[in-house]
């Protein structure tokens, strides 16, 4: 998000998902697309069927990587080095798009100077990918007229996540692969409606529509609409909140921890890194309120639990990765006392002395249209008649925007931001010789709050698994199906061992859906300095047989 915002001026997919069908080259980075975004994978299949070349950057041999023409199986957390290598090759072979760079971008010379200092032998060593393969990928990408980059959390969930994204944007701008149909940089969002949540200002420093909280005119606009004063400073990031334990005797205690938290539809007790610390923080609060559709691990710690309605039990909108705002209509009534989140918030606000009296979700949408320029013309009645509208959509007559940055980047000129390789926060050592990558499995979603309630999904994936390369297993004397214990410096978690060549030797992968195997006991809290996204994708661990 932050990475694309600095380079392009807007942190969202620059294309429509359907455009991928027509791309000539698709570069997929850090995305297990077939599992996490099957509808995107479908377009990639279509494109490959039409003759497109597929390049996959992933430490794991995922299903999509098995379909790739070129699989760059990098060491975890070495995207920047790889991209610098690719860009150096593009520069050396003069495959850059001079005109695009001249007309549409700035700070190119800084990038060029950095690239000229890149040592390709060193790159080969850092990434674990041969020079010739890097060059082949670079040529394939640069030669295409229509090339799209799709990336996901494998790129962002690193301590250099923002720098990673900026590097992908550099690559796209260097070759002029932005601003057109079928061509661009496309972050695939990690969760249902996370794009919508960001759009609506669920970020520390922005109000709805990415309007800066530091801008006095913007604050004035919202103050007039809401009849109250708005804070002039930005809010806290997620880890600032969930890692802010008071008096827990932690070395890097954060200043001014929270006293009260109200958590909606989120389960940090499984999803946030270094769970021990999250638990200490939540238990140290004076008051914790959780609203969720089931009693999650987080809700179990709450003083008050408010039962919420699920997606099918309320009317509203969902915004997907391609910035498409879609109407979602209530299908069934919520059970028992459960209510839609908007009603819970309205009543809480009213009880706290700020009466909110929205009659419907459509009325709230009207206020969004009034205050948020990119959503300016997205009214419920328009959405009901269509398959949704893609923002920016400034007024009622506007048809929506399938691809961004046509003729001009949102911020004016695209900004090259040279980046250098950053070592992972926790490299492997003799004591902890394996690198653990976390991700999603196919049959479960996130912390399993919903998917683990389904008998069929549970049958397909009943137990927490850790994936290991058969070579490592042989060395350690482990076999398929064994009970093992994976430990990091922060904790230890039991799994069933699964042997697969999906992970290369020296690495492990696991999901984080199971409360009986809370993977985030192991992960580290080190995070990106700008986006504060934690490095879920790499921590040092060891594996032992679990003698239960």
């Amino acid at each position: 998000m932050a990475g694309l915002a600095t380079t392009f001026g807007s942190g969202a997919m620059t294309n429509t998902i359907n455009e991928l069908d027509q791309s000539q080259v698709i570069l997929v980075a850090g995305s297990n697309t077939t599992r996490t975004h099957p509808q995107v994978a479908r377009r990639i299949y279509n494109a490959v069927d039409r003759g497109a070349k597929l390049i996959v950057i992933d430490p794991r041999k995922t299903k999509i990587a098995r379909h790739a023409h070129i699989h760059l199986q990098i060491n975890p957390g070495t995207d920047i080095a790889l991209l610098n290598g690719m860009m150096r090759c593009i520069l050396d072979e003069n495959l850059i798009d001079d005109l695009f760079i001249e007309m549409r971008t700035e700070n190119y010379l800084a990038l060029r100077d950095m690239l000229l200092a890149v040592d390709l032998d060193k790159i080969e060593k850092i990434t674990g990918v041969s020079r010739s393969t890097i060059a082949r990928a670079a040529r394939t990408y640069a030669h295409a007229r229509r090339a799209a980059i799709c990336y996901c959390l494998g790129v962002t969930q690193h301590i250099c996540g923002t720098a990673n994204v900026e590097s992908y944007a550099n690559l796209a701008m260097l070759t002029g692969h932005v601003e057109q149909e079928f061509t661009g940089v496309d972050p695939l969002r990690g969760q249902y409606n996370v794009q919508g949540a960001c759009d609506m200002g669920a970020l520390p420093a922005v109000l709805p529509g990415y309007q800066s909280v530091f801008d006095p005119d913007i604050r004035k606009k919202f103050a007039r609409a809401w009849g109250c004063q708005l804070p002039e400073n930005q809010g806290r990031t997620l880890l600032d909140m969930t890692h802010g334990a008071r008096n827990a005797g932690l070395a890097d205690e954060r200043p001014d921890p929270l006293k009260v938290m109200y958590i909606m539809g989120e389960n940090p007790m499984l999803s946030d890194p270094t769970l021990g610390r999250v638990k200490a923080t939540l238990e140290g609060l004076d008051f914790l309120v959780v609203s969720d559709i089931f009693l999650s691990e987080t809700a179990e710690l709450a003083d008050v639990v408010l039962p919420a309605a699920c997606f099918a039990e309320k009317t509203g909108t969902v915004t997907n990765s391609e910035r498409r705002v879609q109407y979602s209509k209530k299908a069934v009534n919520p059970p028992g006392e459960a209510r839609p989140d908007r009603l819970i918030i309205q009543e809480l606000a009213t009880l706290m002395g700020y009466p909110m009296a929205y009659g419907s979700a459509a009325e709230i949408m009207e206020e969004i249209c009034l205050l948020t320029p990119v959503y300016g013309g997205i009214y419920h009645d328009r959405l009901q008649r269509s398959w949704g509208l893609q923002w920016p959509c400034p007024d009622r007559e506007h048809p929506g925007t399938p691809f961004l940055h046509k003729y001009s980047f949102t911020r004016g000129k695209g900004h090259f931001t040279p980046q250098h390789h950053v070592d992972v926060a926790e490299p492997v050592t003799d004591d902890y010789p394996l690198a653990l990558i976390t991700g999603r499995s196919y049959h479960h979603y996130h912390t399993g709050t919903m998917s683990r309630k389904s008998a069929l999904l549970n049958r397909e994936h009943p137990r927490p698994r850790v994936n290991m390369n058969p070579q490592d297993a042989e060395k350690l004397g482990l076999a398929e199906g064994m009970r093992v214990r994976v430990s990091s410096r922060r904790g230890s978690v039991p799994y069933i061992l699964h042997l697969t060549d999906e992970v290369p030797p020296g690495e492990l992968s696991s999901d984080f859906h199971f409360r009986e195997a809370p993977t985030n006991m192991l992960t580290i809290g080190a995070s990106d300095p700008i986006a504060h996204c934690p490095e879920y994708k790499c921590c040092a661990v060891k594996v032992e047989v679990d003698h239960v």
Binding site: A41, Y45, A455, L456, R459, E460
Partner: protein
């Protein structure tokens, strides 16, 4: 009265209204998003009946719902609270005589196939039977097959020779009427009891109907050699490479089995309500899921990576041909539209033929 009559289109809705007094009505309607689905119709005046599109669903869920409670149970406890036994109370669906109208040939054919599965053997499925009994079918032949249809190749359309109560054929704009063939007794009952709605069919009507059937056969956009593929599969060897290639692209979503009008696999689970009560639930299952054959200790007799789709295609095109003398694919083409990865039955058949 002869075996065919004519129904003027103006009288179609009034006929449904009369029938609606006796039967629950289910037919294709267009919802507010523009999708056409077979739906239960409560209010004929406000239902947007649409006989121009292929409904996205089949009739499967009306007889065999996606989830259905089979029984409720109560745990009987002894004096000290220990569990002594379980009592089960069957939850049979209520009997509701239903008229399914606007049913496409492939969809009725699929119901006839399901009859063999649920009612054909030694044990009859009481849940299915309860819903199936007193069901009437007023089918609509397809003058113009839809994009993915290939029922001509599976011999389950575009018009039927049997199975229906009444089969309607659109006689075209000139006539503005349906040619109505009377099949089973239920159809005869409707045409005789509500005879005022129908007129006798003339020779000219019969000629027009014959013409429509002939023309429809020439309008298929898909040419799928189902018979040839069945013969190839029977003769062997197994097309391992095709199966492996397609399996790699299968995303394991189960959409093909769920949308398929003849996929009838299910699984049964118990859902606890509280400590002492619960329900036994039947849900749709799919043979493309790894868990379908997974055994204790995670052993799986089927190599899911390479053979994920083998079972499905072989069942449709091989096992059922041996068992029932015909494929259980009815050529509706729905799985072609729903698959994420291009792993549909038409692709498979084409590849087998190309071998």
């Amino acid at each position: 009265m002869s075996d065919s009559v004519v129904l003027h289109k103006d009288h179609f809705l009034p006929l449904l209204r009369r029938l609606g007094k006796r039967y629950r009505l289910v037919g294709p309607t267009r919802n507010e998003l523009g999708d056409v689905l077979y739906t239960e119709i409560d209010d004929l005046d406000h239902a947007r009946i649409d006989l121009t599109q292929q409904p996205q669903n089949s009739l499967k869920s009306f007889f065999f719902p996606q989830t259905e409670p089979l029984a409720s149970y109560i745990v009987d406890r002894g004096a000290n609270g220990s569990r002594r036994s379980l009592s089960f109370y069957p939850l049979l669906p209520e009997k509701r005589p239903t008229l399914y109208f606007g049913v496409r040939s492939c969809d009725l054919f699929a119901v006839l196939y399901m009859d063999m599965i649920f009612l054909g053997g030694k044990y009859r499925d009481p849940y299915y039977e309860q819903r199936r009994r007193d069901a009437l079918f007023l089918t609509l032949g397809c003058n113009k097959p839809f994009g993915n249809c290939f029922c001509n190749a599976t011999k389950s359309g575009p018009f039927l020779d049997f199975g229906f109560d009444l089969q309607l054929t659109d006689l075209g704009d000139g006539e503005n009427a349906y040619y109505v063939e009377i099949g089973k007794a239920g159809g005869r009952k409707i045409t005789s009891e509500l005879a005022c709605f129908f007129t006798d069919a003339t020779k000219e009507h019969a000629r027009l109907q014959f013409q429509a059937v002939l023309e429809a056969r020439g309008l298929f956009q898909q040419l799928v050699h189902v018979d040839l593929a069945c013969a190839r599969l029977k003769k062997g060897p197994e097309p391992e490479k095709i199966i492996a290639d397609l399996s790699r692209r299968c995303q394991d979503c189960g959409g093909c089995a769920y949308i398929c009008p003849t996929c009838t696999c299910f699984t049964i689970t118990d859902q606890a309500g509280d400590r002492d009560t619960g329900e036994r639930i039947r849900t749709w299952d799919a043979c493309t899921f790894a868990g379908f054959t997974k055994m204790a200790g995670d052993h799986n007799p089927v190599d899911m990576r390479r053979q994920r789709i083998r079972r499905r295609f072989y069942h449709k095109l091989q096992s059922d041909v041996e068992k029932h003398g015909r494929t259980s694919c009815v050529g509706c083409g729905r799985c072609v539209g729903i698959c994420f990865g291009g792993v549909d039955i038409i692709t498979f058949i084409h590849k087998v033929i190309d071998l």
